[in-house]
Subunit: 234 residues, 2 copies
Amino acid sequence: MDTETTPDPARIVVVEDEEALADAVALRLRAEGFVVDVAHDGTSGLAACDPLPDLVLLDWMLPDVDGLEVCRRLRARGDVPVLLLTARTAESDVVEALAAGVDDHLRKPVGMRELVARIRALLRLVDRARGDGHAPVHRLGDVVVDVAARRVQRADEQVHLTATEFDLLARLCERPGAVVARATLLRDVWDLPADVPSRTLDTHVGELRRKLGAEVVRTVHGVGYAAGTPEEAS
Amino acid sequence: MDTETTPDPARIVVVEDEEALADAVALRLRAEGFVVDVAHDGTSGLAACDPLPDLVLLDWMLPDVDGLEVCRRLRARGDVPVLLLTARTAESDVVEALAAGVDDHLRKPVGMRELVARIRALLRLVDRARGDGHAPVHRLGDVVVDVAARRVQRADEQVHLTATEFDLLARLCERPGAVVARATLLRDVWDLPADVPSRTLDTHVGELRRKLGAEVVRTVHGVGYAAGTPEEAS
DNA sequence: TGGTGTCCTGACGAGGCCCTGACAGTCCTG
DNA sequence: CAGGACTGTCAGGGCCTCGTCAGGACACCA
Protein backbone atom coordinates (compact mmCIF):
# COMPACT_ATOMS: atom_id res chain seq x y z
CA MET A 1 0.00 0.00 0.00
CA ASP A 2 1.10 3.58 0.43
CA THR A 3 4.36 3.76 2.31
CA GLU A 4 5.45 6.32 4.83
CA THR A 5 6.23 8.70 2.01
CA THR A 6 2.56 9.67 2.13
CA PRO A 7 1.93 11.45 5.42
CA ASP A 8 -1.68 10.41 5.72
CA PRO A 9 -3.87 13.37 6.56
CA ALA A 10 -4.74 14.02 10.16
CA ARG A 11 -8.28 13.15 11.17
CA ILE A 12 -10.12 15.80 13.14
CA VAL A 13 -13.44 15.41 14.93
CA VAL A 14 -15.46 18.62 15.22
CA VAL A 15 -18.07 18.67 17.98
CA GLU A 16 -20.20 21.77 17.65
CA ASP A 17 -23.94 22.10 17.99
CA GLU A 18 -24.31 25.22 15.89
CA GLU A 19 -24.63 23.66 12.47
CA ALA A 20 -23.65 26.66 10.38
CA LEU A 21 -20.42 27.08 12.28
CA ALA A 22 -19.70 23.36 12.25
CA ASP A 23 -20.19 23.22 8.51
CA ALA A 24 -18.03 26.24 7.89
CA VAL A 25 -15.23 24.87 10.03
CA ALA A 26 -15.45 21.43 8.46
CA LEU A 27 -15.40 22.92 4.98
CA ARG A 28 -12.33 24.97 5.73
CA LEU A 29 -10.49 22.15 7.45
CA ARG A 30 -11.20 19.79 4.57
CA ALA A 31 -9.87 22.43 2.19
CA GLU A 32 -6.72 22.44 4.29
CA GLY A 33 -6.32 18.73 3.68
CA PHE A 34 -7.67 17.30 6.90
CA VAL A 35 -10.16 14.48 7.19
CA VAL A 36 -13.05 15.85 9.19
CA ASP A 37 -15.91 14.19 11.06
CA VAL A 38 -18.64 16.39 12.49
CA ALA A 39 -20.91 15.76 15.46
CA HIS A 40 -23.54 18.07 16.89
CA ASP A 41 -23.70 16.83 20.47
CA GLY A 42 -21.45 15.27 23.05
CA THR A 43 -22.72 11.72 22.83
CA SER A 44 -22.31 11.37 19.10
CA GLY A 45 -19.06 13.30 19.38
CA LEU A 46 -17.66 10.69 21.71
CA ALA A 47 -18.89 8.00 19.38
CA ALA A 48 -17.13 9.72 16.48
CA CYS A 49 -13.91 9.60 18.50
CA ASP A 50 -13.73 5.84 18.25
CA PRO A 51 -11.11 5.15 17.17
CA LEU A 52 -9.37 8.21 18.52
CA PRO A 53 -8.72 10.89 15.90
CA ASP A 54 -5.59 13.00 15.75
CA LEU A 55 -7.31 16.05 17.21
CA VAL A 56 -10.66 17.05 18.62
CA LEU A 57 -12.21 20.46 18.18
CA LEU A 58 -14.76 20.84 20.92
CA ASP A 59 -17.47 23.29 21.81
CA TRP A 60 -17.94 23.96 25.51
CA MET A 61 -21.71 24.34 25.46
CA LEU A 62 -23.32 21.25 23.99
CA PRO A 63 -26.96 20.22 24.11
CA ASP A 64 -26.42 17.06 26.11
CA VAL A 65 -23.01 16.65 27.73
CA ASP A 66 -20.80 19.46 28.87
CA GLY A 67 -17.76 19.95 26.64
CA LEU A 68 -15.34 19.62 29.51
CA GLU A 69 -17.02 16.35 30.46
CA VAL A 70 -16.46 15.12 26.92
CA CYS A 71 -12.83 16.12 27.25
CA ARG A 72 -12.39 14.24 30.52
CA ARG A 73 -13.86 11.10 29.04
CA LEU A 74 -11.65 11.36 26.00
CA ARG A 75 -8.64 11.64 28.29
CA ALA A 76 -9.66 8.38 29.89
CA ARG A 77 -9.48 6.69 26.51
CA GLY A 78 -6.11 7.82 25.28
CA ASP A 79 -3.92 10.63 24.15
CA VAL A 80 -5.74 13.15 21.96
CA PRO A 81 -5.10 16.86 21.68
CA VAL A 82 -8.31 18.70 22.48
CA LEU A 83 -8.97 22.25 21.36
CA LEU A 84 -11.86 24.01 23.03
CA LEU A 85 -13.84 26.56 21.08
CA THR A 86 -16.13 28.66 23.19
CA ALA A 87 -17.88 31.93 23.81
CA ARG A 88 -16.92 31.77 27.47
CA THR A 89 -13.90 33.99 27.26
CA ALA A 90 -13.31 35.27 30.77
CA GLU A 91 -9.92 34.50 32.22
CA SER A 92 -11.51 32.26 34.82
CA ASP A 93 -13.18 30.30 32.04
CA VAL A 94 -9.89 29.82 30.25
CA VAL A 95 -8.24 28.67 33.44
CA GLU A 96 -11.07 26.30 34.25
CA ALA A 97 -11.00 24.78 30.79
CA LEU A 98 -7.26 24.30 30.73
CA ALA A 99 -7.33 22.83 34.22
CA ALA A 100 -9.99 20.37 33.11
CA GLY A 101 -7.58 18.94 30.59
CA VAL A 102 -8.18 20.94 27.46
CA ASP A 103 -5.01 21.64 25.49
CA ASP A 104 -5.93 24.95 23.95
CA HIS A 105 -8.72 27.44 24.45
CA LEU A 106 -9.99 29.52 21.56
CA ARG A 107 -12.41 32.42 21.89
CA LYS A 108 -15.51 32.69 19.75
CA PRO A 109 -15.96 34.23 17.30
CA VAL A 110 -12.89 32.71 15.80
CA GLY A 111 -10.90 33.67 12.76
CA MET A 112 -10.56 30.74 10.43
CA ARG A 113 -6.93 31.44 9.83
CA GLU A 114 -6.10 31.47 13.51
CA LEU A 115 -8.12 28.32 14.04
CA VAL A 116 -6.21 26.49 11.34
CA ALA A 117 -2.90 27.85 12.59
CA ARG A 118 -3.59 26.68 16.13
CA ILE A 119 -4.67 23.25 14.95
CA ARG A 120 -1.50 22.90 12.94
CA ALA A 121 0.56 24.10 15.89
CA LEU A 122 -0.99 21.52 18.21
CA LEU A 123 -0.51 18.67 15.76
CA ARG A 124 3.05 19.77 15.15
CA LEU A 125 3.82 19.92 18.85
CA VAL A 126 2.45 16.44 19.46
CA ASP A 127 4.32 15.13 16.45
CA ARG A 128 7.59 16.60 17.69
CA ALA A 129 7.15 15.27 21.18
CA ARG A 130 6.18 11.82 19.95
CA GLY A 131 8.90 11.62 17.35
CA ASP A 132 11.60 12.12 19.93
CA GLY A 133 11.59 8.83 21.69
CA HIS A 134 10.13 7.03 18.72
CA ALA A 135 12.46 4.33 17.54
CA PRO A 136 11.85 3.04 14.03
CA VAL A 137 12.79 -0.42 15.28
CA HIS A 138 10.37 -2.42 17.37
CA ARG A 139 11.02 -5.53 19.41
CA LEU A 140 8.30 -8.07 20.05
CA GLY A 141 9.87 -10.90 21.94
CA ASP A 142 12.52 -12.37 19.64
CA VAL A 143 11.10 -10.57 16.64
CA VAL A 144 12.69 -7.33 15.46
CA VAL A 145 10.78 -5.06 13.09
CA ASP A 146 12.67 -2.37 11.21
CA VAL A 147 9.93 -0.19 9.83
CA ALA A 148 12.14 2.10 7.77
CA ALA A 149 13.99 -0.73 6.05
CA ARG A 150 10.87 -2.90 5.91
CA ARG A 151 12.79 -5.85 7.30
CA VAL A 152 11.90 -8.34 9.96
CA GLN A 153 14.17 -10.64 11.93
CA ARG A 154 13.23 -13.55 14.12
CA ALA A 155 15.93 -14.87 16.43
CA ASP A 156 18.64 -13.07 14.41
CA GLU A 157 17.34 -14.64 11.26
CA GLN A 158 15.91 -12.69 8.38
CA VAL A 159 12.25 -13.46 7.66
CA HIS A 160 10.61 -12.57 4.38
CA LEU A 161 7.23 -10.89 4.63
CA THR A 162 5.07 -9.90 1.70
CA ALA A 163 4.06 -6.27 1.30
CA THR A 164 0.64 -6.68 2.86
CA GLU A 165 1.94 -8.75 5.72
CA PHE A 166 4.49 -6.11 6.53
CA ASP A 167 2.02 -3.25 6.30
CA LEU A 168 -0.24 -5.07 8.70
CA LEU A 169 2.57 -5.78 11.13
CA ALA A 170 3.84 -2.21 10.90
CA ARG A 171 0.40 -0.84 11.63
CA LEU A 172 0.14 -3.03 14.70
CA CYS A 173 3.62 -1.97 15.79
CA GLU A 174 2.76 1.72 15.73
CA ARG A 175 1.60 1.35 19.29
CA PRO A 176 2.98 -1.82 20.79
CA GLY A 177 0.47 -3.58 22.97
CA ALA A 178 -2.45 -1.44 21.88
CA VAL A 179 -5.44 -3.16 20.38
CA VAL A 180 -6.28 -2.07 16.84
CA ALA A 181 -9.84 -2.69 15.74
CA ARG A 182 -10.54 -4.89 12.73
CA ALA A 183 -12.27 -2.01 11.01
CA THR A 184 -9.28 0.23 11.58
CA LEU A 185 -6.91 -2.33 10.14
CA LEU A 186 -9.11 -2.89 7.12
CA ARG A 187 -9.22 0.85 6.55
CA ASP A 188 -5.55 1.61 7.14
CA VAL A 189 -3.97 -1.40 5.47
CA TRP A 190 -6.52 -2.33 2.82
CA ASP A 191 -8.40 0.94 2.43
CA LEU A 192 -11.66 -0.94 2.78
CA PRO A 193 -14.90 0.08 4.43
CA ALA A 194 -15.49 -1.57 7.75
CA ASP A 195 -18.59 -3.57 6.96
CA VAL A 196 -17.39 -5.92 4.24
CA PRO A 197 -17.14 -9.34 5.81
CA SER A 198 -13.97 -11.00 4.71
CA ARG A 199 -11.42 -13.51 5.87
CA THR A 200 -8.59 -11.50 4.37
CA LEU A 201 -7.42 -9.99 7.62
CA ASP A 202 -7.51 -13.29 9.49
CA THR A 203 -5.62 -15.00 6.71
CA HIS A 204 -2.78 -12.50 6.87
CA VAL A 205 -2.65 -12.60 10.64
CA GLY A 206 -2.39 -16.35 10.38
CA GLU A 207 0.49 -15.96 7.95
CA LEU A 208 2.27 -13.59 10.33
CA ARG A 209 1.88 -16.07 13.14
CA ARG A 210 3.15 -18.92 10.98
CA LYS A 211 6.27 -16.98 10.06
CA LEU A 212 6.97 -15.17 13.31
CA GLY A 213 5.43 -17.33 15.99
CA ALA A 214 1.96 -17.38 17.42
CA GLU A 215 2.82 -14.95 20.23
CA VAL A 216 3.54 -11.91 18.08
CA VAL A 217 -0.09 -11.11 17.44
CA ARG A 218 -2.74 -11.28 20.12
CA THR A 219 -6.38 -11.75 19.15
CA VAL A 220 -8.94 -9.70 21.02
CA HIS A 221 -12.17 -11.46 20.28
CA GLY A 222 -14.81 -9.19 18.82
CA VAL A 223 -12.46 -6.22 18.62
CA GLY A 224 -9.24 -6.70 16.73
CA TYR A 225 -5.58 -7.53 17.14
CA ALA A 226 -2.55 -6.29 19.03
CA ALA A 227 1.17 -6.86 18.61
CA GLY A 228 3.48 -7.16 21.56
CA THR A 229 2.85 -5.94 25.07
CA PRO A 230 2.90 -2.40 26.45
CA GLU A 231 6.03 -3.24 28.41
CA GLU A 232 7.85 -4.00 25.19
CA ALA A 233 7.29 -0.47 23.93
CA SER A 234 10.61 0.65 22.55
CA MET B 1 -4.61 16.68 42.65
CA ASP B 2 -2.99 19.21 40.33
CA THR B 3 0.10 19.51 42.48
CA GLU B 4 1.40 16.00 42.45
CA THR B 5 4.79 15.80 44.02
CA THR B 6 6.76 16.56 40.89
CA PRO B 7 10.02 14.61 40.85
CA ASP B 8 11.99 17.49 39.43
CA PRO B 9 10.33 20.82 38.80
CA ALA B 10 10.12 21.99 35.21
CA ARG B 11 12.67 24.62 34.21
CA ILE B 12 11.33 27.62 32.35
CA VAL B 13 13.33 30.30 30.58
CA VAL B 14 11.63 33.69 30.40
CA VAL B 15 12.87 36.02 27.68
CA GLU B 16 11.32 39.45 28.13
CA ASP B 17 12.96 42.87 27.85
CA GLU B 18 10.51 44.72 30.04
CA GLU B 19 12.06 44.12 33.42
CA ALA B 20 9.04 44.76 35.58
CA LEU B 21 6.97 42.23 33.66
CA ALA B 22 9.80 39.73 33.57
CA ASP B 23 10.24 39.94 37.32
CA ALA B 24 6.54 39.64 38.01
CA VAL B 25 6.26 36.58 35.79
CA ALA B 26 9.34 34.97 37.27
CA LEU B 27 8.08 35.58 40.78
CA ARG B 28 4.74 34.01 40.07
CA LEU B 29 6.18 31.02 38.23
CA ARG B 30 8.60 30.34 41.06
CA ALA B 31 5.70 30.52 43.47
CA GLU B 32 4.04 27.85 41.33
CA GLY B 33 7.02 25.61 41.83
CA PHE B 34 8.89 26.11 38.58
CA VAL B 35 12.59 26.80 38.25
CA VAL B 36 12.87 30.06 36.31
CA ASP B 37 15.73 31.68 34.44
CA VAL B 38 15.24 35.19 33.12
CA ALA B 39 16.87 36.89 30.16
CA HIS B 40 16.24 40.38 28.83
CA ASP B 41 17.28 39.98 25.22
CA GLY B 42 17.41 37.32 22.56
CA THR B 43 21.10 36.61 22.70
CA SER B 44 21.28 35.98 26.42
CA GLY B 45 17.94 34.20 26.16
CA LEU B 46 19.41 31.71 23.73
CA ALA B 47 22.39 31.31 26.02
CA ALA B 48 20.06 30.61 28.94
CA CYS B 49 18.48 27.84 26.87
CA ASP B 50 21.61 25.72 26.98
CA PRO B 51 20.88 23.10 28.02
CA LEU B 52 17.32 23.20 26.72
CA PRO B 53 14.76 23.94 29.41
CA ASP B 54 11.35 22.34 29.59
CA LEU B 55 9.60 25.42 28.24
CA VAL B 56 10.45 28.86 26.89
CA LEU B 57 8.32 31.92 27.46
CA LEU B 58 9.24 34.38 24.79
CA ASP B 59 8.55 38.01 24.00
CA TRP B 60 8.17 38.85 20.34
CA MET B 61 9.76 42.29 20.44
CA LEU B 62 13.24 42.05 21.82
CA PRO B 63 16.01 44.67 21.70
CA ASP B 64 18.40 42.61 19.61
CA VAL B 65 16.96 39.50 17.98
CA ASP B 66 13.36 39.09 16.88
CA GLY B 67 11.45 36.67 19.08
CA LEU B 68 10.44 34.47 16.18
CA GLU B 69 14.07 34.25 15.17
CA VAL B 70 14.91 33.07 18.68
CA CYS B 71 12.20 30.45 18.31
CA ARG B 72 13.61 29.23 15.01
CA ARG B 73 17.06 28.82 16.48
CA LEU B 74 15.65 26.93 19.43
CA ARG B 75 13.84 24.61 17.05
CA ALA B 76 17.14 23.85 15.36
CA ARG B 77 18.53 22.69 18.68
CA GLY B 78 15.80 20.34 19.75
CA ASP B 79 12.29 19.93 21.01
CA VAL B 80 11.17 22.73 23.35
CA PRO B 81 7.68 24.07 23.73
CA VAL B 82 7.74 27.80 23.06
CA LEU B 83 5.06 30.15 24.31
CA LEU B 84 5.01 33.58 22.72
CA LEU B 85 3.89 36.53 24.78
CA THR B 86 3.23 39.64 22.77
CA ALA B 87 1.32 42.85 22.27
CA ARG B 88 0.94 42.06 18.60
CA THR B 89 -2.52 40.61 18.83
CA ALA B 90 -4.00 40.87 15.36
CA GLU B 91 -5.12 37.59 13.83
CA SER B 92 -2.42 37.88 11.20
CA ASP B 93 0.15 38.24 13.96
CA VAL B 94 -1.08 35.11 15.68
CA VAL B 95 -1.01 33.19 12.43
CA GLU B 96 2.45 34.43 11.61
CA ALA B 97 3.78 33.49 15.02
CA LEU B 98 2.27 30.03 14.98
CA ALA B 99 3.48 29.44 11.45
CA ALA B 100 6.97 30.41 12.55
CA GLY B 101 7.01 27.53 14.94
CA VAL B 102 5.68 28.98 18.17
CA ASP B 103 3.49 26.55 20.09
CA ASP B 104 1.17 29.02 21.74
CA HIS B 105 0.44 32.71 21.37
CA LEU B 106 -0.63 34.78 24.32
CA ARG B 107 -1.90 38.33 24.09
CA LYS B 108 -0.49 41.08 26.28
CA PRO B 109 -1.52 42.16 28.78
CA VAL B 110 -1.81 38.72 30.19
CA GLY B 111 -3.57 37.43 33.26
CA MET B 112 -1.18 35.57 35.48
CA ARG B 113 -3.62 32.77 36.10
CA GLU B 114 -4.16 32.20 32.39
CA LEU B 115 -0.43 32.32 31.79
CA VAL B 116 0.21 29.67 34.41
CA ALA B 117 -2.67 27.55 33.16
CA ARG B 118 -1.37 27.67 29.59
CA ILE B 119 2.13 26.79 30.68
CA ARG B 120 0.83 23.83 32.62
CA ALA B 121 -1.29 22.76 29.67
CA LEU B 122 1.67 22.86 27.31
CA LEU B 123 3.90 20.90 29.67
CA ARG B 124 1.15 18.38 30.24
CA LEU B 125 0.55 17.93 26.53
CA VAL B 126 4.22 17.31 25.82
CA ASP B 127 4.38 14.89 28.73
CA ARG B 128 1.42 12.95 27.48
CA ALA B 129 2.69 12.78 23.94
CA ARG B 130 6.15 11.66 25.05
CA GLY B 131 4.57 8.98 27.20
CA ASP B 132 3.93 7.25 23.88
CA GLY B 133 0.19 7.23 24.13
CA HIS B 134 -0.32 4.27 26.40
CA ALA B 135 -1.15 6.73 29.12
CA PRO B 136 -4.61 5.90 30.32
CA VAL B 137 -4.23 3.27 32.99
CA HIS B 138 -6.82 3.22 35.72
CA ARG B 139 -6.38 1.83 39.20
CA LEU B 140 -9.33 0.61 41.21
CA GLY B 141 -7.91 -0.86 44.36
CA ASP B 142 -5.76 -3.80 43.27
CA VAL B 143 -7.28 -3.79 39.81
CA VAL B 144 -5.39 -2.15 36.94
CA VAL B 145 -7.16 -1.33 33.70
CA ASP B 146 -5.12 -0.62 30.58
CA VAL B 147 -7.54 0.92 28.12
CA ALA B 148 -5.35 0.92 25.03
CA ALA B 149 -4.25 -2.68 25.41
CA ARG B 150 -7.65 -3.74 26.69
CA ARG B 151 -5.99 -5.66 29.48
CA VAL B 152 -6.91 -5.95 33.13
CA GLN B 153 -4.76 -7.07 36.02
CA ARG B 154 -5.86 -8.01 39.49
CA ALA B 155 -3.10 -8.21 42.07
CA ASP B 156 -0.44 -8.39 39.33
CA GLU B 157 -2.29 -11.21 37.71
CA GLN B 158 -3.73 -11.02 34.24
CA VAL B 159 -7.52 -11.39 34.11
CA HIS B 160 -9.34 -12.15 30.92
CA LEU B 161 -12.41 -10.05 30.18
CA THR B 162 -14.69 -10.47 27.21
CA ALA B 163 -15.27 -7.57 24.85
CA THR B 164 -18.52 -6.45 26.43
CA GLU B 165 -17.23 -6.83 29.94
CA PHE B 166 -14.26 -4.68 29.11
CA ASP B 167 -16.32 -2.04 27.35
CA LEU B 168 -18.56 -1.81 30.36
CA LEU B 169 -15.65 -1.50 32.76
CA ALA B 170 -13.93 1.05 30.54
CA ARG B 171 -17.08 3.15 30.40
CA LEU B 172 -17.32 3.13 34.16
CA CYS B 173 -13.64 4.03 34.42
CA GLU B 174 -14.05 7.12 32.29
CA ARG B 175 -15.18 8.90 35.42
CA PRO B 176 -13.85 7.00 38.42
CA GLY B 177 -16.30 7.18 41.26
CA ALA B 178 -19.06 8.72 39.21
CA VAL B 179 -22.38 6.97 39.03
CA VAL B 180 -23.43 6.09 35.50
CA ALA B 181 -27.12 5.54 34.90
CA ARG B 182 -28.35 2.21 33.62
CA ALA B 183 -29.86 3.90 30.59
CA THR B 184 -26.55 5.60 29.83
CA LEU B 185 -24.67 2.33 30.04
CA LEU B 186 -27.19 0.56 27.84
CA ARG B 187 -26.83 3.34 25.29
CA ASP B 188 -23.04 3.71 25.37
CA VAL B 189 -22.05 0.07 25.65
CA TRP B 190 -24.93 -1.75 23.97
CA ASP B 191 -26.34 1.00 21.80
CA LEU B 192 -29.77 0.14 23.12
CA PRO B 193 -32.73 2.34 23.98
CA ALA B 194 -33.24 2.75 27.69
CA ASP B 195 -36.66 1.21 28.06
CA VAL B 196 -36.03 -2.41 27.14
CA PRO B 197 -36.10 -4.39 30.34
CA SER B 198 -33.27 -6.86 30.37
CA ARG B 199 -30.93 -8.65 32.72
CA THR B 200 -28.02 -8.19 30.34
CA LEU B 201 -26.41 -5.31 32.19
CA ASP B 202 -26.73 -6.97 35.59
CA THR B 203 -25.33 -10.18 34.24
CA HIS B 204 -22.21 -8.48 32.96
CA VAL B 205 -21.76 -6.50 36.14
CA GLY B 206 -21.99 -9.75 38.03
CA GLU B 207 -19.34 -11.25 35.80
CA LEU B 208 -17.06 -8.27 36.44
CA ARG B 209 -17.49 -8.69 40.17
CA ARG B 210 -16.84 -12.41 39.97
CA LYS B 211 -13.59 -11.87 38.07
CA LEU B 212 -12.33 -8.72 39.75
CA GLY B 213 -13.86 -8.77 43.19
CA ALA B 214 -17.16 -7.46 44.44
CA GLU B 215 -15.72 -4.06 45.38
CA VAL B 216 -14.84 -2.87 41.90
CA VAL B 217 -18.39 -1.99 40.94
CA ARG B 218 -20.76 -0.28 43.30
CA THR B 219 -24.50 -0.52 42.80
CA VAL B 220 -26.58 2.60 43.25
CA HIS B 221 -30.06 1.26 43.62
CA GLY B 222 -32.52 2.71 41.15
CA VAL B 223 -29.84 4.68 39.31
CA GLY B 224 -26.92 2.72 38.00
CA TYR B 225 -23.37 1.68 38.75
CA ALA B 226 -20.03 3.24 39.62
CA ALA B 227 -16.46 1.98 39.57
CA GLY B 228 -13.76 3.14 41.92
CA THR B 229 -13.62 6.33 43.89
CA PRO B 230 -12.91 9.89 42.74
CA GLU B 231 -9.59 9.84 44.59
CA GLU B 232 -8.42 6.96 42.45
CA ALA B 233 -8.68 9.10 39.33
CA SER B 234 -5.46 8.87 37.37
C1' DT C 1 3.06 -17.79 -22.99
C1' DG C 2 4.08 -20.24 -18.94
C1' DG C 3 5.91 -19.73 -14.30
C1' DT C 4 6.06 -17.62 -9.88
C1' DG C 5 4.62 -15.13 -6.09
C1' DT C 6 0.94 -12.79 -3.88
C1' DC C 7 -3.61 -11.79 -2.61
C1' DC C 8 -8.50 -12.59 -2.08
C1' DT C 9 -12.44 -15.56 -1.67
C1' DG C 10 -15.68 -18.78 0.26
C1' DA C 11 -16.78 -22.80 2.87
C1' DC C 12 -16.33 -25.25 7.02
C1' DG C 13 -15.67 -26.38 11.87
C1' DA C 14 -14.73 -25.16 16.47
C1' DG C 15 -15.30 -22.47 20.15
C1' DG C 16 -16.30 -18.17 22.50
C1' DC C 17 -19.58 -15.07 23.87
C1' DC C 18 -24.01 -12.85 24.62
C1' DC C 19 -28.71 -12.81 25.63
C1' DT C 20 -32.71 -14.76 27.68
C1' DG C 21 -35.94 -15.97 31.19
C1' DA C 22 -37.05 -17.69 35.56
C1' DC C 23 -36.28 -17.34 40.32
C1' DA C 24 -34.32 -15.69 44.59
C1' DG C 25 -32.67 -12.03 47.16
C1' DT C 26 -32.55 -7.07 48.35
C1' DC C 27 -33.94 -2.42 48.82
C1' DC C 28 -37.16 1.34 49.14
C1' DT C 29 -41.76 3.27 50.10
C1' DG C 30 -46.10 3.86 51.97
C1' DC D 1 -44.33 -4.34 58.03
C1' DA D 2 -46.00 -5.57 53.61
C1' DG D 3 -45.93 -4.91 48.93
C1' DG D 4 -43.69 -3.76 44.83
C1' DA D 5 -39.83 -2.59 42.25
C1' DC D 6 -35.21 -3.35 41.51
C1' DT D 7 -31.07 -6.28 41.39
C1' DG D 8 -28.18 -10.77 41.65
C1' DT D 9 -27.57 -15.32 39.88
C1' DC D 10 -27.49 -19.13 36.90
C1' DA D 11 -27.58 -22.31 33.03
C1' DG D 12 -28.39 -23.27 28.30
C1' DG D 13 -29.44 -22.24 23.46
C1' DG D 14 -27.97 -20.02 19.67
C1' DC D 15 -25.50 -16.67 17.16
C1' DC D 16 -21.30 -14.75 15.88
C1' DT D 17 -16.39 -14.62 15.26
C1' DC D 18 -12.11 -16.59 14.30
C1' DG D 19 -8.64 -20.00 12.32
C1' DT D 20 -7.70 -22.76 8.46
C1' DC D 21 -7.34 -24.32 3.92
C1' DA D 22 -7.55 -24.86 -0.92
C1' DG D 23 -8.63 -22.83 -5.25
C1' DG D 24 -8.72 -19.09 -8.51
C1' DA D 25 -7.60 -14.27 -10.03
C1' DC D 26 -4.11 -11.12 -10.99
C1' DA D 27 0.34 -9.00 -11.89
C1' DC D 28 4.99 -9.36 -13.03
C1' DC D 29 8.81 -11.29 -15.47
C1' DA D 30 11.50 -14.01 -18.31
